[in-house]
């Protein structure tokens, strides 16, 4: 600690703090232009100059280290004169553009010019001309306004780890640009836009939408991934015109491209605005023979749709093309009253005739906790079935089955802020920087702080650049890899005996099972050199605060649950659980997949993971909800589709999900849904699934309602209404309540917080959380009482179920491996710019510009052998179907392996995938299937 005096006031700061930090502590304002607290000091603008006693010349406060006994003056006529001169010089070649500048009112330079009263300029100089090169759809660069503060350069390099831009040339010609002054071709995170203190960098889509006047700012949570970044929506006249993020949030103001620029879908004119009832016969209803026409069904004229000719649909790419017709010819618009009455009547009839269990519900991980709570309550209390699930089935049900049975909870054990303090990070089967960008940033930060990063992934993902070691194992061999790592850990005696003794059981027999997984055996199965296996074992085994991170690369396998068990074993044997920055962290894909699951939108649990088939628990919920409940474990999402296919399930209620594209084996899903007697889809867009529905209900999106989301780290955060929904679209909660009421079950809440409160009564772990407490920052469950601070990391004092058990896991190959006929292995997944089935991101022109179409990544050697070039179209087929798709030659996948992102319906990856399920969690094997690739010879 050092003590110094600034402007006559004493202040004590930590060693190596700067004078600027010290002044900040005293709340003394010092003007800055190139300083950013999260970035390395630059000392370029010299605006922060201060006088230090004993120093001949003024020093820059942002780079001067505070010393014991220093006496600093931050303002004097002399300093102010210097500052004014600096500003005048900066403004000498600055266009006087404030009138039309996007940044006006939010520009540090403008503000300083105002405070220093600079009107005329003494140094009117030559202006720097710039040839504008910005065809990119996100970042508008007006570099003549650039003051060379370098914040954008540093943020891109130090925070984002990209380095897309840098200073080039020198002297008067110095400029910030991409290599060879090309247009930006980067991750488009917009971090540079966020830090730029002038109007040099702005958002393209902000242009002429409004600046400061008449703008209302609404804090909420990002609707895309599970990171749960906090957003601030800028609203003008019921339109979202800009998205920003505050610095004092869990994401420190950083966002990814989707969060920052992916808001266009909200105002899309393709939003559903009216309830729709099907008029056209269903395609696949013929073989079900059950379909009945809706009542009073006169042929109606096609929907008039604001001049525009309905939808533009791309090529069919394997999806039955007759299904991709404009919805105007399938549906007619009806009133809410008619739609809801019809739904209630049909569901009622089907329940009457076939029983409650003939109805299944799919809830949405995009919707709020409150809506998910109501949805499962509707299915359980009103319909009377436990057939309710959400998309967790497709991504993390194996996590849940695995971790919950070992630890007693399947959530991430640590929190996002803890990531930067790991000393070893082991990422397996997660392309974190693309799927969870902000968690990816944290990992990069950890590496900067000295953490060693281990990556196990068959593809050369972006994080590999930051890794100490990269294990490129064959897809589907994770168990063998992990077992051989554990073999070495046992051999090297890096196990935590005390932890094993006190907190686990079954270690001895488990240990025996590892004997056969020598590094040599590991190498044989996985293809990873045994030296690397040993290295990783030593790194992880010796680490003090290691964290394991995984996603779909682990879970979406026919042995997904076993993969998760293997990970749990690794953490248990080394005692790496229950401490700060130490644990096992499954990253949740969608914004609220954690919440949807917590809220009981899973077939075997009520809210809070309370088993439906335990009589005491059932009674508790019967009391609370005032009806008899079913104790029969319901069907999972995958089983719901299969039961529909077999004709056992008669009706389905799907809220905000698009199983046609997200489920494996598209054609199977379409047929299955076509066989239903009755399908209700509630969504914000006419999705591929909605096109199959009997009734489509228009819903409100995240910006149009109040509620909460729970991020991947169990943090419950407030979602706030910023705009009114379009047309007659309604909040999902309103729709569910109205339906329940039509069934004669009273669901009335004065405001949405009451639903959360009710959920808290049912599930003690969130009983201590109120809207009031999470006004600014969210709280992490468990948080049982009103004075509980929330739980950063889990299992501090032990596991909820007592001792955690080791599970003996043996490697078994994936179900469908390449053979002579289908020689390539296909993995599917996400990419940075698109999200899930694209029902939101693909409505945004700017995103489609940088990520226009689907592709198959093929290794250069394989491409050569096939005789295909970049951009060629090939036909990719599996045993289930085939699609035409463009080739992207890439060194990312292993030889023999291919990758297709699943966002694109024109080339729907899930036409190819296999619907083999994990026997325990019933998760489909989306990461491994066999395909063949044939060049298509254009004539």
């Amino acid at each position: 600690m050092v003590t110094l005096k600034i402007d006559g006031m004493k202040v004590t700061v930590r060693k190596l703090s700067t004078v600027l930090d010290a002044a900040k502590k005293l709340d003394i304002p010092i003007p800055t232009l190139c300083h950013h607290p999260e970035l390395s000091p630059f000392g370029g603008c010299r605006l922060c100059i201060v006088e230090v006693q004993g120093m001949a010349r003024p020093a820059t406060a942002c780079t001067t280290i505070a010393k014991e006994g220093m006496i600093v003056t931050t303002t004097s006529p002399y300093l102010e004169k210097l500052r004014k001169t600096i500003l005048e010089l900066l403004l000498s070649d600055h266009p006087n553009d404030c009138m039309v500048c996007e940044r006006a009112g939010d520009c540090t330079l403008q503000e300083l010019a105002y405070f220093y009263n600079i009107r005329e300029n003494r140094f009117v100089g030559e202006k720097r001309p710039f040839i504008k090169k910005d065809e990119n759809p996100f970042v508008e660069r007006s570099m003549e306004k650039c003051i060379l503060c370098g914040q954008c350069v540093r943020v891109c390099d130090e925070i984002q780890g990209v380095g897309a831009i840098d200073f080039a040339y020198k002297g008067f010609n110095t400029r910030v640009c991409a290599s060879y002054e090309k247009d930006l071709n980067c991750e488009f995170c917009g971090q540079c836009v966020a830090v730029c203190p002038t109007g040099a960098l702005t958002g393209k889509m902000w242009a002429h939408k409004g600046r400061q006047k008449d703008i209302e700012q609404v804090d909420t949570v990002c609707p895309y991934c599970g990171c749960g970044c906090n957003l601030t929506l800028h609203v003008r006249r019921n339109e979202i015109i800009r998205v920003s993020s505050k610095k004092d949030t869990i994401n420190e103001g950083w966002l990814c491209m989707k969060g920052r620029f992916g808001y266009g879908f909200i105002n899309s004119d393709e939003r559903l605005t009216k309830p729709l009832i099907r008029t056209a016969p269903k395609k696949h209803s013929a073989d079900s023979g059950q379909w009945t026409n809706p009542p009073n069904n006169p042929p109606t004229p096609p929907l008039a749709k604001g001049g525009e000719g309905g939808f533009e649909r791309g090529g069919n790419g394997g999806v039955d093309s007759s299904l991709l017709t404009p919805h105007s010819s399938l549906f007619r618009e009806v009133s809410w009253e008619e739609a809801l009455n019809f739904v209630a009547k049909r569901l009622g009839e089907i329940k009457e005739r076939y029983g409650a269990d003939s109805i299944g519900g799919l809830s949405s991980a995009r919707c709020t906790n409150e809506e998910n709570y109501l949805f499962q309550k509707f299915m359980r209390a009103v319909i009377g079935t436990n057939n309710v699930d959400n998309c967790v089935r497709y991504c993390h049900s194996s996590t849940f089955a695995g971790l919950a049975s070992v630890f007693g909870s399947g959530a991430m054990t640590n929190s996002v802020p803890e990531i930067e303090n790991h000393d070893v990070i082991f990422v397996i089967g997660s392309n974190t920087t693309e799927t969870h960008p902000i968690i990816g940033l944290k990992m990069k930060k950890a590496v900067k702080n000295g953490a060693e990063l281990i990556i196990a992934d068959p593809r050369r993902i972006e994080l590999v650049r930051f890794a100490k070691i990269w294990l490129q194992h064959r897809p589907g061999t994770d168990v063998a890899l992990l077992n051989s790592i554990m073999h070495v850990i046992v051999k090297e005696d890096l196990i935590d005996k005390k932890f094993i003794e006190e907190r686990t059981e079954g270690f001895e027999s488990f240990k025996q099972s590892l004997a056969e997984y020598t590094p040599e055996e590991g190498e044989r199965i996985t293809g990873v050199p045994k030296e690397d296996i040993i290295k990783v074992a030593l790194l992880y085994g010796n680490a003090v605060r290691p964290g394991i991170y995984y996603t779909m690369g682990i879970t979406q396998h026919s042995h997904g649950t076993e993969n998760v068990y293997a990970i749990a074993n690794l953490a248990l044997m080394t005692g790496n659980l229950g401490r700060e920055s130490t644990g096992v962290n499954p990253l949740r894909g969608q914004n609220n997949v954690q919440g949807a699951t917590d809220m009981g939108c899973i077939p075997d649990f009520y809210p809070g993971y309370q088993k439906v088939n335990i009589p005491g628990i059932k009674q508790k919920f019967e009391m609370a909800w005032g009806v008899k409940l079913s104790d029969k474990v319901g069907l999972t999402a995958t089983e719901i589709i299969n039961a529909a296919f077999k004709g056992k399930l008669k009706a389905s209620y799907i809220m905000g999900e698009n199983p046609v594209l997200s489920d494996p084996d598209v054609n199977h899903t379409i047929k299955a849904l076509g066989k239903l007697d009755f399908l209700v889809v509630q969504d914000i867009f006419m999705t591929e699934t909605a096109e199959l529905a009997d009734v489509v209900l228009p819903a409100a999106c995240f910006a149009e309602k109040d509620g909460t989301f729970t991020n991947t780290a169990r943090r419950i955060q407030r979602v706030r209404k910023a705009v009114e929904p379009p047309g007659e679209a309604k909040e999902d909660s309103w729709i569910i309540m109205e339906l329940a009421n039509l069934f004669g079950y009273k669901m009335r809440y004065n405001y949405i917080g009451e639903v959360f409160h009710e959920a808290g009564k049912a599930w003690p772990a969130i009983a201590g959380i109120t809207y009031g407490r999470i006004e600014k920052i969210g709280l992490q469950w468990p948080c049982p009482t009103l004075d509980h601070p929330g739980t950063l990391y889990l299992f501090k004092g032990g596991f909820p179920r007592g001792k955690a058990a080791f599970s003996t896991i043996r490697y078994r190959p994936s179900e469908e491996l390449p053979d002579n006929e289908y020689p390539f292995l296909l993995s599917t997944g996400r990419q940075l710019f698109q999200y899930h089935t694209g029902s939101m991101t693909r409505k945004i022109d700017a995103i489609n510009k940088v990520s226009p179409e689907a592709y198959i990544e093929i290794h250069p050697d394989d491409a050569k052998q096939l005789g295909v070039n970049d951009g060629d179209t090939v036909k990719v087929s599996s045993r289930r179907g085939s699609i035409d798709i463009k080739v992207l030659i890439s060194e990312r996948p292993l030889k023999g392996m291919t990758f297709i992102p699943f966002h694109f319906k024109e080339a729907a990856a899930n036409v190819l995938t296999s619907s083999v399920l994990d026997p325990i969690a019933r998760i489909p094997e989306l990461k491994v299937c066999a395909v063949k690739i044939e060049p298509i010879h254009q004539i």
């Binding site: 990209v162 380095g163 897309a164 840098d166 200073f167 020198k170 640009c177 991409a178 290599s179 060879y180």
Partner: protein, 153 residues
């Protein structure tokens, strides 16, 4: 080109300190620094292309475009300027038919460039023709030299 670049890289350990000399080698062998070379090095050395671009634009010794076989460098430092270097430049550009804004002839035979003071002010105006320094240059003398070079082939 990839092969040439691979070879250059082999001579250097993966180390940012050697980056300037690596770039010098690239220029030595290719005559200039093409964008593909920067992209290649960026990938191999894991240094952002923008940073490499920053380096090559900072030092005037690096060239972003192909250069002529013959390099004519005209000094326009103060002494040379006073002694009429501007006239020399204009005449040279006309003689070589180099379009405004450019510095190299279309057939890549000549590059005309300007520098600030080459340090032999006593001989102003100074022109360097293919590394040979010519003092007290006149337009006639310059054209004569050019004609000779044009004749060679």
């Amino acid at each position: 080109m990839e092969k040439k670049l691979e070879k250059i890289l082999k001579n250097y350990v993966k180390d940012e300190c050697n980056i300037i000399s690596t770039l010098q080698d690239v220029q030595e062998i290719l005559g200039y620094i093409p964008e593909e070379a920067i992209n290649f090095l960026s990938k191999k050395l894991d240094i952002p292309a923008s940073r490499l671009f920053g380096i090559i634009t900072f030092y005037s010794q690096f060239h972003l475009k192909p250069r002529g076989e013959n390099i004519i460098t005209i000094c326009r430092g103060t002494a040379c300027h006073v002694n009429g270097s501007e006239r020399l430049i204009n005449r040279l550009l006309i003689e070589l038919e180099i379009p405004p804004g450019g510095d190299t002839t279309d057939d890549l035979r000549f590059t005309a460039e300007k520098v600030n003071c080459v340090g032999t002010c006593s001989m102003a105006p100074v022109v360097i023709i293919n590394k040979r320094v010519h003092g007290e240059m006149t337009t006639d003398k310059l054209i004569k030299e050019i004609k000779i070079l044009k004749g060679k082939r």
